[in-house]
Amino acid sequence: MKKVYLVADNIISPIGFSTEENIENLRLNQTGIKKVDDDYIWSEPFFGAVVNNDKLSKAWESISSDLGYTKLEKMMLLSVSKMIVENPSLDIVKCGIVVSTTKGNINNLKGGLDKKAYLSSISETIQNYFKLDHTPIVLSNACISGGLALAVGKRMIQSELFEDVVVIGGDLLSEFTLSGFFSFQAVSNEPCKPFCKNRTGISLGEAAASAWLSSKKDTTKKEIIEITGDASANDANHISGPSRTGEGLYISIAKALKEAGLDSTQVDYITAHGTATPFNDEMEAIAFNRAGLQNVPLNSLKGYYGHTLGASALIESIVARHCLINNEVFTSLGFEELGVSQSINVITKNEKKELNRVLKTASGFGGCNVALIIEKVAS
């Protein structure tokens, strides 16, 4: 079976328009979540992480003068364009492309003109912009989309459909999703606090990201990072609430570890989903305990980015790659005191630490879960 390497990436988020800028701000424990006062999104101020429109316009002008794109499209195209500039050997035209998004240009439903609200329109936009040989496949699988898209990309390479796959993820902080989460009473009235006793719900965010998966490891000058295991499993329990036993997440972790040929004692760090809703974080703690991972240092990046839906697990995997390269972990922002019934090891300060193997997990509506094992390849 072919090996699949994570060789390059980019993140466009409220805390930076390059991966380096994002990592630097994570290192400074700088959050993108703030009080947002934007009547287009919500009638009252709320806490969320939004990409500044002026900053985006400026960055967009540097690559194109065409203003006929939506905010999400600009973010996605910018992300991929930056990755191409930084990696001249990436021949995007020949790559397989997986686009991960939950709601795409859902804002366009507001005006009634909804052609762009169809997710395949994003695929068309990306194909036309980069003049791609292959039509991008859109994956829309709730909050695990970004992680599952990496698994799908890996599987496409392993089955020899492509040598290289680019995964592009993105979602907006829209009135559409915010109103839905408010109706669930799941939105925090302060920046979210994953795994904390004082957590009251999520903060939403928006971002786009891209990652280059390749079967060839010599495409990167940096340390070589491989995705060695991936699995997804449904809870088969409830469509809007996580399983009380963490069943699907536990199965995903066990299967991903098995594929990677590892046991739970060999995982150095977990970059968890950690949305900061009472039920999600509790479920994760249960699943990690069942998998024997309760002592492994763990964080959630939702305190920095908010929940960026279809982008979140992709961004968190990209950050994991850089944590492996730089041998460091970041504090789980927003966490004060453990607020789940089973013990887990939440990271409370940045640390330099030798890392070889990272577990990335995500869970979402519809009972879906995904686990990825991301490893440093011994040189």
């Binding site: 079976m1 009638s43 939950t102 709601k103 795409g104 859902i106 439903l109 507001k110 909804d114 609200a117 169809y118 997710l119 395949s120 695929s123 068309e124 039509t135 496949i137 859109v138 994956l139 829309s140 699988n141 709730a142 599952l148 799908v152 599987r155 496409m156 392993q158 089955s159 020899e160 459909l161 009135e175 559409f176 109103s179 839905g180 989460f181 408010f182 109706s183 669930f184 699995a231 997804s232 499993a233 449904n234 809870d235 088969a236 329990n237 409830h238 469509i239 809007s240 069943e247 699907g248 199965i251 299967k255 979402g364 509506f365 519809g366 009972g367 879906c368």
Partner: protein
Amino acid sequence: MIKEKYYISGFCSIKEKKVFKNGNQLYVDSESDNLKDFAKGIYKYLELKYPKFHKMDELCKLGFLASEVLIKDMKEVDQDTALVLSNKSSSLDTDRKHQESIQDREDFYPSPAVFVYTLPNIIMGEISIKNKLKSENAFFVTESFDAEFVSRYSEILINTGKASNVICGWVDLDNDKYDVFLAFLSKKGKIELTKEELNNLYNQ
């Protein structure tokens, strides 16, 4: 990589007020003038007793009913049977309902019972719950049914041991127009799985 042969061991479709299984017409309803009643008719025909059905949005009802038709005569469905579904319109049918509920700030009534259905993968959640499938799920959105990608992706899942069988297909609903096709892929059967065959059965 050594490629095993896989088979389409069953298939079904729901289109134009008719339900087909393995190419034969199973149910027709020329009376009902809306999708809700049509779906309810199929539910009754299948003699289902599953109260959760009535809470589902119309897209989930269609996917759920098709899955029931597909596995109707099977003793049990292996827990490792993956779901690989796709469509063109994602969950837009319910997205529009949610949008309507937030369109007017003076008359603002978003509902969690509607919002939860604004994701297309919920169909797979519903099918998984009914059949206790703790398996791989993936929902893809493409302009039209992409038999090549769906069959290749399903093959990968079985090849790599991530699934024993796969229920794959197309479950689309847009402005009352629906088009549903599911196929059961496994290591046993008479029809060999190829993209052409899958596409032919979809177009039947």
